[in-house]
Symmetry: C2
Subunit: 302 residues, 2 copies
């Protein structure tokens, strides 16, 4: 929150000298990431990566087939069939979601055909916790018995019920539905752009997470209250296409890596955010919320 | 998250008939607010209301003298002296904050004079809980022993220590500082535009909350990573002025009312969001986070 990064840099350099003692082995995020071994990073898999192409640029979404296999399969089919070519962002609700797809989805006379995609999918609100690699946070959470990370996504788990599910943190992508739980097709997708609406957890199918280009969605002009639907087509934001990365020639793909959550590097990163000791914080929080944990992404080194 | 509000309206109308039984006395937010007695609303006090005038429109901020009396007094002095006339928004960090004031604040040769405002203020990170009307939420919070609302703001309290403080929820306004806790003047202000950075609670002085026009800040183009500072002056967002509402002729003021948090109306609203029973949610959360509680604002009835 400092006025300028340069001041922070000076303070960090001076802090150990001023303290007059051996500094504690605290490292900030960038320092931790710079020191991470190459194996702590994983490549983004083109078979589970979606490119949302806007006029302003590309939004990269990592899909979560481990949690929503049927939705992810349908999204792949929709993308291959060009379902989103010329579709739109038609909802931007402040502190909640951006939603995109077919602006006429609920008008049978005008709705885009789903092509060979399925028109009916099961709700995929949760999955069996058995067989899932779950890196639990020790921090208490009001919404779930346990929270942490699975497949690189923010997630929650109920050990007693043996279930796990994805959590509605900033940047998470979900499949919009009507009143009945099994009415999402994956054609209408939303992205969280505000305070985590965790009340939606296990009430709607989450399908992935934005890993790059989030600012292209979060900075869109807001639609009218209360729900942000842009009723005026002139305000819709055109979508050029949504494509699976694997269908894009290799030269045109993003080469991104994500930090693995099961690593000592990630644990140090979380602790460095739970208790910040960079000289600015007079009172380290001693706590971190699931949705405040950064999930670092970087360009793959050449 | 439904595709269209019209579908929701239909479902709400049909739900009791379909259920075949006496519907539970559940009401959604708008219904609760529409039924609220006039006395449940309070007028925004022009003496503690700030107008941030951008080219795109007006952002209305309610100040919190009950928590940050010295900062609020200084902000009033700065506004009266025209400190922000021609100043800028010079930082927009995605999922964190928008920051505005004097883009040259840390360059003594170019910094704007503070006029008759004080150049040194005490840190106002917390206050005595004694004498504070605090409406506690029953919901657990990971960051503080107790959370709730005080003076209409999201707040936290430590009963053992006898202290209370404001919480960094979406829309809260704080006074940027350097490394030393007592280096904020109120001239450089930030507004939370992302997931609540509660780790900043009690580490920085919060001075108020945006009650109208939040979308003018939250939709600004993001600055470069990692901290969102707009190094290119061409990208700064001009500020026409920041004025205390009381200094604006009455015809030019916003006539806004805020729902009182100590009322039965507010308690019903919170419960209606903690456990949503509108037919869409298959699993009411049974919990609400402090920063997910809406703090309703409306135009004053004529």
């Amino acid at each position: 929150m400092r006025l300028r990064p340069s001041l922070l840099a000076c303070a960090l350099l001076l802090a150990p000298a001023l303290a007059g003692a051996e500094p504690p082995p605290y490292r900030g995020m960038q320092e931790i990431l710079d020191a991470a071994p190459a194996g702590d990073w994983r490549e983004l898999d083109p078979e589970r990566t979606l490119y949302l192409e806007l006029e302003a640029g590309r939004v990269v979404i990592e899909l979560a087939p481990g949690f929503a296999p049927e939705h992810v399969a349908n999204i792949r089919t929709l993308a291959a069939g060009g379902f989103w070519d010329g579709a739109h962002v038609y909802r931007v609700q402040d502190n909640f979601v951006v939603q995109f797809g077919d602006a006429h989805a609920d008008d049978p006379a005008r709705a885009r055909p789903l092509g060979s995609a399925r028109t009916k999918l099961p709700a995929e609100f949760e999955r069996d916790a058995a067989g899932l690699d779950f890196d639990a946070l020790p921090d208490a959470d009001g919404w779930a018995p346990e929270v942490g990370f699975a497949d690189g996504f923010p997630a929650a788990r109920d050990p007693a019920a043996g279930k796990a599910w994805l959590a509605h943190c900033y940047g998470m992508v979900g499949a919009a539905r009507d009143m009945a739980p099994d009415t999402s097709t994956g054609g209408e997708l939303y992205v969280v752009i505000g305070q985590a609406p965790r009340q939606l957890d296990r009430n709607i199918t989450l399908v992935g997470r934005v890993v790059q280009g989030m600012e292209l969605l979060s900075s869109l002009p807001r639609g009218p209250e209360p729900m942000g639907f842009l009723e005026d087509p002139a305000r819709w934001v055109p979508i050029r296409a949504v494509r699976l990365a694997a269908s894009v020639p290799e030269a045109g793909r993003e080469r991104l890596q994500l930090l693995r959550t099961g690593t000592a590097t990630f644990r140090e990163l979380v602790e460095s955010r739970r208790n910040r000791r960079d000289g600015f914080y007079v009172r380290p929080a001693g706590h971190i919320d699931l949705c405040n944990v950064p999930l670092p992404v970087r360009r793959a080194p050449d």
